[in-house]
Structures are given as C-alpha cells and as structure tokens.
C-alpha cells in the first residue's frame, strides 16, 4: 500500500510497522519527499474529505475517544499496557539455549524509560523452569554456624523490620555473546539480561543476628533455592552483613513467580545467579561451598586456561538504549540520546557519550536518583546531520574505574570467558538512518 504520512513523520502502516517500501524510501533518502507529500496522502486517506493544506486530520477530525463514552473503572482488575505497546516483550535469543526450561528471556531495554523495569518485563533466567509457589507453604531455614537454627514462615518474615531498596540485577553472562564478535542485533539481546527494581524485604543481617550467627567462625553463607535446580551460591559474610536482602516484594507488589515468588535473595552488585529465587535456606559456614554455579558454571575462562571461580561483582558498565541496534532514525535533526549506566561496586559518577567512535566525548546528564548498585538513566542532546556516526557511552563509578573498551578486555581476558563483558558498546548510524550493532575501538 502507499505510505500514509502525517506532519513531519512517517506513520506506521496498519500492521504498525514500516512496510518494506517505506523502509526503502527512508534508506534511499526520500524522507523529504515523503514529508512534503503528507498533505496529499493524508487527504486521500481521510474518511472525511479535509481541504488539502488545512492541517493534520488528527487535529481537524475529532477521534472516537473525544466523542463517545470510554470504559468504566475496574474494566481490568489488574491493569495492562496499552494494546499499542505489545511489541515490547521479553524474548529469547534464538539458538542461545536448546530447552526453554533452562534458558533466558531478555528485557526490551530499547523501549524502556527511567530506571525501573516493569515487573512483567524483568528478564528471566531459570535453570529448571519456574514455579508459582504457595506462600503459605514456603519456609526459610537459617542454620549452620548459628546459636539457634530457625524456621520462618512468610508470616514471620513479613513481621520483621522491612527495608525498601532500588538495585539493578545483571546476569553474569549479559553481553556474553559479544566477546568474540558482534553476534546479536539489538540492545535487548546484547544487554537485556539486566533489570532494576525496588525490592522490599528484610536485611539478611537481621536474620543472621536473630539466629545468633557465629561471628568468629562464620565467614560465608550459602543461599539455596527451593526449585528443582536447588540453586546455591556462596556469599562472603561481609557482603551478607552489608546490603544483601531477603525480599518478598518488587515494584510495590509481591515478587512475580518468574522472579522467585514468594521469596528471593537480593545480592546488590553481584551477578544475577547469586540472587537465589524461591529462597528456602541460608547456611552459615567457615569455607566457600563450591556450588555448581560458582565453581563449575559461571566461571570465567582466561587465555592461560585458568577458570576464575566465584566471579561475582558486576563491574561498571553502560549502554545507549535509544537510538540502538536494529532501529532506524526517522529524520535528521534533534535527538535525545539516552541510556543506562550501573556499577556493582557503588555509584555511577559520570557518563560520557561519543558520536565519532570514541575520538571525542561529551559528558551526559545523569537523572537523579543516583543510588548505589542501581541503574542510572543518562540523556544527552544530539543533532543528527544525516551523516554516518558511531555512538558510544562510557561510565565511570565512584571508585574511579572507567568502563573499558572491548579490545582492552580481550587483552587481559581473551575472547572465551563468556561472563563479565562490560565493554563500551558501539552503535553505527548509517546515512539511511539505520542503526547497527558494531564493535569499534
């Protein structure tokens, strides 16, 4: 069908995306033609004839929602996103895993705003599927080097002093597909094992104190899940006593089943696998526990063949989320370049953005709040002149650590470590407006 356009912009076809012809028009530089032709096209498409040149039919012709009665309250007892937002979904990366019960779904970062991940778009990683666990039958046991091993029901836990904290969670394997070469097209797949929520729960230190843990001998805790995989991870006692939480709520409601309902560990700054879901047991010990997902899987392979065990901390990292790979800029002119930055060691201090592949940098605006081990949103204005550009962002945290380039990471860690790729991300912008995932340094 012929393109239907409105003032200054290409408009989505009825299928809600640009058809092949429209993309071809954009890519062949015919934006200007399309723009100037909007009035005639709009007039032809309008159900009521509007005088050519009079203006935008979206203004001149009152829509149904301005002239009739809308839907009543509580038409949907639990609200849902607009029907026009259905493109933003958690998705699997085809070919990454072979069974969906031991897989990952990625958060659509390309379409999100601010720093909070909507609960339904939080990324998923399950090792043996997810369960919707009855909270009245769920128990947490704290044992090991404690004066009194104790059992807590959810009723018990929710009577304890609660804290609410905002933290990011990032899978250690996030961006892992890109160690060797560019492998996936969009920021959803390069960086989408990343989410950030407000969690409510009790500090782990409160529970350890409550059970009288052995301060002299207790050096590590083991967190264990109640699911089939019985996920276990060792947490050093200084982390456990610092900001680790046992959480039941996320973004103002109870945890979603996919995120460990009714109880999960929140291990700020540490890779996602440490955030044990369906948490059933905390054990205090005097040695690391050597669990499968800290000494066998989730180990970083170095060029000399050594495997780094217990790699936990997610180092400082950032990414531009819009414009980003797989998108097309619709026009020349003003853009708000926006993205996310985070550090597992503390606060993000600064984010710089380059438009020429890292030769020159400008410091972006960081939106408050700037919290420890939490995403921050950055924004920077950009005038696109229609020429080629390479967009990059570079974050610096309050330890002074500067997010590295991919070649700097490779010099030390090679290309096969899978985990902890926090390289600067490049997005290549073509004169056609098309944005592509690229590696530039």
């Amino acid at each position: 069908m012929s393109p239907v356009v409105r003032a200054g912009r290409l408009r989505g076809a009825p299928e809600h995306f640009l058809d092949a012809g429209q993309i071809a028009d954009v890519q062949s530089g015919r934006r200007e033609f399309l723009r100037s032709a909007f009035v005639a096209a709009a007039a032809a498409a309008a159900t009521k004839a509007t005088a050519a040149g009079a203006g935008d039919p979206a203004i001149l012709e009152l829509p149904e929602h301005s002239k009739a009665l809308g839907q009543p309250v509580a038409a949907r007892g639990y609200g849902l996103p607009s029907q026009f937002e259905k493109n933003l979904q958690r998705r699997e990366s085809p070919g990454l895993t072979r069974v969906s019960g031991a897989s990952v779904s990625f958060t659509p970062l390309q379409g999100l705003f601010g720093i909070i991940t909507p609960s339904g778009l939080h990324f998923e990683r399950h090792h043996q599927g997810w369960w919707d666990v009855d909270p009245n039958r769920h128990r947490l046991m704290v044992m090991g080097l404690v004066r009194q091993a104790r059992v807590y029901t959810m009723d018990d836990l929710m009577r304890l002093p609660a804290v609410s904290r905002m933290h990011f969670i990032e899978c250690g394997a996030n961006t892992g597909m890109e160690w060797g070469n560019v492998a996936v097209p969009t920021v959803q797949y390069t960086h989408g094992m990343l989410s950030c929520c407000e969690f409510t729960g009790v500090l782990l230190s409160t529970l350890l104190d409550h059970c009288g843990f052995d301060r002299a001998r207790g050096k590590y805790v083991l967190a264990e899940g109640a699911d089939g995989s019985g996920m276990t991870r060792t947490i050093a006692i200084d982390r456990a006593l610092d900001d680790v939480m046992v959480a039941w709520a996320m973004n103002g409601e109870m945890l979603r089943p996919e995120n460990g309902y009714p109880l999960r560990l929140v291990a700020p700054g540490m890779q996602g696998v440490s955030w044990v879901k369906w948490l059933r047991r905390i054990k205090v010990g005097d040695q690391p526990f050597g669990a499968k997902d800290e000494v066998l899987h989730y180990v970083d392979l170095m060029p000399d063949g050594k495997l780094r065990q217990y790699a936990s901390i997610q180092e400082c990292k950032s990414v531009i989320t819009s414009p980003s790979g797989g998108q097309t800029l619709l026009d020349k002119g003003s853009y708000n370049v926006t993205g996310l930055a985070w550090s597992g060691r503390g606060r993000v201090k600064r984010v710089d953005v380059s438009f020429d592949g890292g030769r020159n940098w400008r410091t972006a605006r960081i939106e408050p709040p700037v919290l420890s081990k939490c995403l921050v949103r950055f924004n920077i204005a950009w005038q696109w002149d229609g020429g080629p550009a390479i967009l990059q962002s570079r974050a610096i945290d309050d330890t002074g650590y500067v997010q590295p380039k991919i070649n700097q990471l490779r010099e030390v860690r090679g290309t096969r470590s899978v985990y902890h790729n926090n390289a600067i991300q490049s997005w290549k912008v073509d004169p056609s407006g098309e944005v592509t995932n690229a590696q530039v340094y």
């Binding site: 031991a102 982390r239 530039v440």
Partner: protein
C-alpha cells in the same frame, strides 16, 4: 473496666519477653521458631569441597551405567558426549591432564568445554547430581545412585576403571585424579566488592587515541536471526525497528507456538529437531493426511505413551484443554 481488660495481654507480653533474655531471637518475640533436627537433616544437603556434608554410601560404575542409560542418556547422550540438549559432560581430558591437574585443551579455542574439563572439586559434581538431576525429576536418585552416576561419569572420562566402586571413604583419593583439579583460581578482582580491577581504561575526552576501525559489525545475512525487529520496537517515538519481511510469516504462527511453549511441549520436542521426544516436523511427516488424525493425536497426547519414537515415555497431559490440544496438534501437523 474494658480498658483494664485491653491492657492485660500487653502487660503479659512484656513480662514474657523480659523473662527470656538469653533466648536467640529475643529482639523479635513471636517471629520464627527453632528448626527441628529432622527438618535440618531434610534440607541440609549441600556437600562442600572438603566433603563436609557428604552422606555415607557407595555406588559402582556398573550400577552407574544402568542408572545412566535409563535416567541420563536421553539428554546427555550414551557416553555423556551429547551436545544436543545440554553442553557435553565428557571429553577433552587426557591421561597427561590427570597427572598435572590442568586440562590442556582449555587453552584451545577449537575444543568445546565439557563438565569434566572444568571440574575441580568432586564434591560439586556429587552435589549437582544429588540436588538437580535428572533435569526433569531432580532429587529422585538414591544416595547409591548418585555415587554410581558420578563414578560412571568418571569412568566415561577415563579417570576411573570399569570395576570401580566410589564411596565416601575413597572419594578423597579420587579427587586427586580430577584432570582440572589445579585449573581454577580465586585470585581476581571480581570476588570481592573492593577487589582490584584487572582491566584499565582512561577517561580521555578529546582527540583520543582510537583506531575507529570497524572491528566487527552485525552481518547482513543475520538480519532475520532474531525475528522481525520492527515488531520488537515501539510504534511511536524517534525511531522504528527495522522491518524484515522474511520473519513476518513466523510471527503469524506465534499463537500456537506460544501454546506449545506455555504447556511445556518445547522442553522435550523441537520443531525441527529431536530433543527428548521426536521433532514436531517428524511427527507431522509421519501422520499428516491420515484419517481423523487430529483426534487420534489429541488422544495420544493426553494419554501419553511410548514405543512409536523410542522407549522413553511421553507423560500424559490430562490438564490440557480440548481446544488447546486441538490447536496444538493442528500446529504440529503444519510444521
């Protein structure tokens, strides 16, 4: 009078909490309770690298082979070598590695990493099998079966002889044979929040040293690899997703594919690849065009069964709604 009655329980509560100052949990009276010894035994299943937590017992390689063939081989392959469902468990280790405790092949990019290549603590493998295997029926093996499966895996890896019986008494000696027992490190900056980073960049702002060469770019031929990107981006705003017409046909099949995913079908069946059960494409090729095929297959799916595609049974699916079952089968036959 009513006011006095209201006060009574509060007063009692204060006395109780004051009277038990030494009890653990004193700060939060009424919250939690002591765990019983039986409860602790039931959940305290972890086994540490020094084998603390390992239950007494033993299992032979011969017994392990029997368990393996019925419970493990369908996902991991007869020799633990399969790369079909999960990454391979066995392979890539040598006699020389057993001597040195370092797996030489870990430095070779052309070798797929296997579990035995990475394994440095035998406790981890024992604990892994005990808590999480078999994948679809975790915690269903007996202690003897866990010992036996671990022994059999080490036999497949040429680490133990065929007549070996692994037990809590000799596991420490077997640990000393692991090919990669010396191949791991904790000397890195990512274990501790104050750890020293191993990679350094500087915050140069102007005329920075950079090659600005395109080291790698998303290849044109991979455009359809992640579906239609136009349908993965918002319909409004400064950008649109790049459209890909080749992928749009796949999108139209989404509803039934979603149904298959939601009901767990895709855990065992691939569309074009056998996993535990047959590929949907193979089922379609076999049955398409037969009389009353939809109803026949719906019945088969709901009742489960085995024999047609091998001895591994398909579990019955009684909870599946009739309408969903019908659309699933039509979708399978369309593959």
């Amino acid at each position: 009078m009513p006011r006095f009655i209201d006060w009574a329980p509060v007063f009692t509560g204060v006395v109780l909490s004051l009277s038990t100052p030494a009890q653990a949990g004193a700060p939060f009276p009424g919250v939690g309770r002591a765990a019983t010894p039986a409860e602790i035994r039931a959940w305290d299943i972890d086994v540490r690298p020094d084998f603390k937590g390992l239950p007494r017992g033993s299992g032979s390689v011969a017994k392990g082979e029997k368990v393996w063939d019925t419970r493990c081989a369908s996902c991991h392959g007869t020799f633990g070598e399969s790369n079909e469902v999960f990454t391979p468990l066995v392979g890539g280790t040598t006699r020389a590695d057993i001597e040195t405790g370092r797996v030489a092949a870990l430095t070779r990019p052309d070798v797929t990493r296997t579990t035995l290549m990475k394994l440095a603590s035998l406790s981890t493998l024992w604990d892994y099998v005990n808590r999480a295997m078999p994948w679809d029926a975790p915690k269903s093996l007996t202690t003897e079966e866990v010992y036996a499966v671990v022994a059999y895996l080490l036999y497949l890896g040429d680490i133990l002889p065929a007549d070996f019986v692994l037990s809590d008494r000799n596991i420490g000696e077997v640990q000393k044979l692991l090919p990669n027992r010396n191949g791991t490190t904790r000397e890195h900056g990512l274990w501790d929040v104050r750890g020293k980073p191993d990679v350094k960049n500087t915050a140069c702002m102007r005329d920075c040293e950079t090659h600005v060469t395109m080291a790698s770019v998303f290849p044109d031929r991979a455009r359809g690899s992640h579906g239609d990107l136009a349908q993965q981006n918002r319909l409004v705003g400064p950008v649109r997703g790049n459209g890909d017409t080749a992928a749009s046909t796949a999108a139209s099949r989404d509803t039934s594919a979603e149904l298959a995913k939601r009901n767990g079908c895709l855990a065992c069946h691939g569309v074009d690849k056998r996993i535990v059960g047959p590929a949907f494409r193979d089922i379609s090729a076999k049955y398409k065009g037969e009389r009353d095929v939809v109803n026949q297959l719906v019945a088969k799916m709901k009742q489960g069964g085995s024999g047609v595609w091998g001895s591994l049974p398909m579990p019955p699916q009684p909870g599946l709604a009739e309408a969903d079952a019908q659309s699933l089968i039509r979708w399978v036959l369309a593959q």
